[in-house]
């Protein structure tokens, strides 16, 4: 099997494809928004 081109290699452990990197970023975003919603609800 040919190694992926340099640009396709993310170089991130556990996140070897860009699709996974993007999903990880979306997951972090969801966590941020969830925390902000929790903050809003905890101190009305």
């Amino acid at each position: 099997m040919n190694p992926p081109p340099d640009d396709e290699n993310t170089g991130l452990p556990g996140l070897r494809t860009w699709r996974r990197v993007y999903l990880a970023v979306v997951a972090v975003f969801v966590v941020w928004v969830g925390l902000l919603v929790a903050l809003t609800r905890m101190f009305p």
Binding site: D7, G11, V25, F29, V33, V37, L39, F43
Partner: protein
């Protein structure tokens, strides 16, 4: 500010600028001048993208927004991570494959020269106007508070940034932004630590948050469907995404930053760095403002933070009335502070009834204080001392000058100037590049040496720097400064984004259709902005949707056959 503060300011600001000039001296290759050093890594790109977006207004004005309105403004950035993923996955590979210098070059390759010029023209118009604001905004606040001359502050800060941007081009911008953002972060973290240390002893983190929440300062997410509300999760996700998509994907001041990456990987990681850290950074800055609000519940704030405006009015006939209002405010604040102590004691004791009673008394006293502030603003307006920036813009700088130790005051003022210079440098670099590549090289002088275009680019960068300084010298703003910048961007960004979305995704639409559609859509946005009072974020969606829909309609009207765009090839 004392001598130590001025020393910190001079050494840090001039040192970074001089270092940028020295490190990039003698570089006259056109590619390096416009795109920066070829080995730029992802962290530098990420910091550079962040520094270009986060101007001095961000750090001066955003804590004031947190103080006045709470955390709701953070929703404005909810669309940014999603937009950055689209830019990294779709826009960036195309720009790199075509090896373009500017985003608008792509429009020329995909459509035709007139559409390229339209895209570049809208950018130059919008960013040229905005460039004045990025110098003016911090200058008006800092000069008012420090007692400096406004024109001297504008000219000095403007000339410093022009000097190293013209000399070193994109490489100098990337290099200096790295150190400038370091100074900014150090200053903001230091201010946060001092602020927390100055909160009353015995006030727990839970108390501080409960207090902020009691004044509606922790309403970070609003699910309301009311389009008149300026910040809701929906306007942030949809309008904010369109704004961020247009800003990061089509604004040359950002495109130029990430095109300087040594590879597609480095550029993508730089963008993902911003996708992850943009929301927490804005939250942190707003939280700083919220904590300043909590701090001023125990320490009496000025009735009006822009004290220069207050004193000017007091000396010109309104002194008696203003001092009476100040006394009313002082009484209301004193009552409010006593009731807050009672409220916290009841909260610690778990006495719900006493807590509710004290809370009602706090609200009553707070209402009296707010009424005194409103009357003070009216009095200032009536006395002809109408301030040129929102009073919220003076909250953070007032806290810094009144409560931070010397040395740290210098660091924070340096941070504001560093932020002003870093975003200004990115803008000037982009304005110079776009004028050179999309106007001068494209229309006026098509065949010339690299050295000639480098000189032309330096001249155009200097020209835009002087335009920005001139605009700043004669500008007068009324609204909160950061909102003014976002409103200006939202009026133009939607249509520009529409141009690019048609280019990327609607292959059968040609240049003539999209050109006229963009002009009509821009006219529509101007008309709606004059007539409606909806959140400005929605204009990004409206402008973009109108441009795309009208492009399709016009293309249908003039016929699909042979009218489609061409597949862009690298120049």
């Amino acid at each position: 500010m004392n001598a130590l503060d001025y020393a910190v300011l001079a050494v840090a600001l001039l040192g970074i600028a001089a270092y940028g000039i020295w490190r990039t001296r003698g570089r006259c290759d056109f590619n390096t001048y416009l795109k920066g050093a070829s080995g730029t890594r992802w962290l530098v790109i990420g910091l550079s993208v962040m520094a270009t977006q986060a101007s001095a207004i961000t750090f001066l004005s955003t804590p004031g927004q947190g103080y006045e309105s709470g955390l709701g403004f953070v929703q404005n950035y909810f669309g940014a991570p999603l937009a950055l993923i689209v830019v990294a996955g779709v826009f960036l590979p195309i720009y790199r494959r075509l090896n373009v210098y500017t985003a608008y070059e792509y429009l020329g390759l995909r459509f035709d020269p007139k559409t390229r010029l339209l895209g570049a023209g809208l950018f130059l118009l919008q960013r040229g106007l905005g460039a004045g604001i990025t110098i003016y905004a911090p200058a008006i606040v800092l000069s008012t508070v420090m007692g400096w001359r406004l024109d001297a502050t504008i000219v000095c800060s403007g000339l410093v940034v022009v000097a190293y941007t013209v000399t070193g081009g994109s490489a100098a911008v990337n290099l200096t932004q790295k150190y400038q953002i370091g100074v900014i972060f150090a200053g903001m973290v230091a201010a946060f630590i001092v602020l927390v240390a100055k909160l009353p002893a015995g006030l727990t983190a839970g108390d501080a948050l409960a207090l902020a929440g009691g004044f509606h300062r922790l309403e970070a997410v609003d699910f309301s469907l009311n389009v008149d509300r300026r910040y809701t999760i929906w306007s942030g996700l949809l309008g904010g995404m369109f704004l961020a998509l247009s800003y990061f994907g089509t604004d040359q001041s950002q495109v130029q930053r990430y095109l300087s990456g040594s590879s597609l990987r480095e550029s993508r990681l730089g963008l993902m760095f911003n996708a992850v850290f943009k929301i927490p950074m804005q939250f942190f800055i707003l939280l700083l403002g919220v904590l300043i609000f909590v701090f001023y519940q125990f320490e009496r704030p000025p009735v009006f933070f822009n004290r220069a405006a207050w004193e000017h009015a007091a000396e010109h006939g309104s002194g008696v009335r203003l001092r009476a209002l100040d006394a009313d405010f002082a009484r209301a604040h004193s009552d409010e502070r006593a009731q807050i102590q009672a409220w916290l004691a009841a909260r610690h004791a778990g006495d719900r009834q006493a807590e509710a009673s004290a809370r009602a008394a706090v609200d009553e006293a707070h209402g009296r204080g707010a009424a005194a502030r409103d009357k003070t603003k009216e009095q200032l307006g009536g006395a002809g001392s109408r301030p040129t920036a929102n009073d919220a813009d003076y909250v953070f700088i007032t806290f810094i000058l009144d409560h931070l130790p010397h040395g740290l005051i210098g660091l924070l003022v340096t941070a504001f100037f560093a932020a002003a210079l870093s975003s200004k440098a990115g803008e000037l670099n982009a304005l110079g590049s776009t004028t050179t590549v999309d106007v001068y090289r494209h229309i006026i002088k098509r065949e010339a040496s690299d050295a000639h275009y480098v000189v032309a680019s330096k001249c155009f960068t200097a020209f835009w720097g002087l335009v920005a300084i001139g605009f700043a010298l004669f500008a007068h703003l009324a609204e909160n400064l950061i909102q003014a910048v976002n409103i200006l961007g939202s009026i133009f960004y939607g249509v520009v984004l529409g141009l690019f979305l048609v280019a990327f995704f609607l292959k059968r639409i040609g240049g003539t259709a999209v050109f006229w559609a963009a002009l009509a859509a821009q006219g529509l946005v101007f008309a709606l902005y004059a007539e409606l009072s909806i959140s400005y974020l929605w204009y990004n969606v409206i402008g973009c949707a109108a441009c795309v829909a009208l492009s399709a309609a016009i293309q249908c009207a003039i016929g699909m056959s042979g009218a489609g765009g061409r597949a862009p090839r690298a120049p």
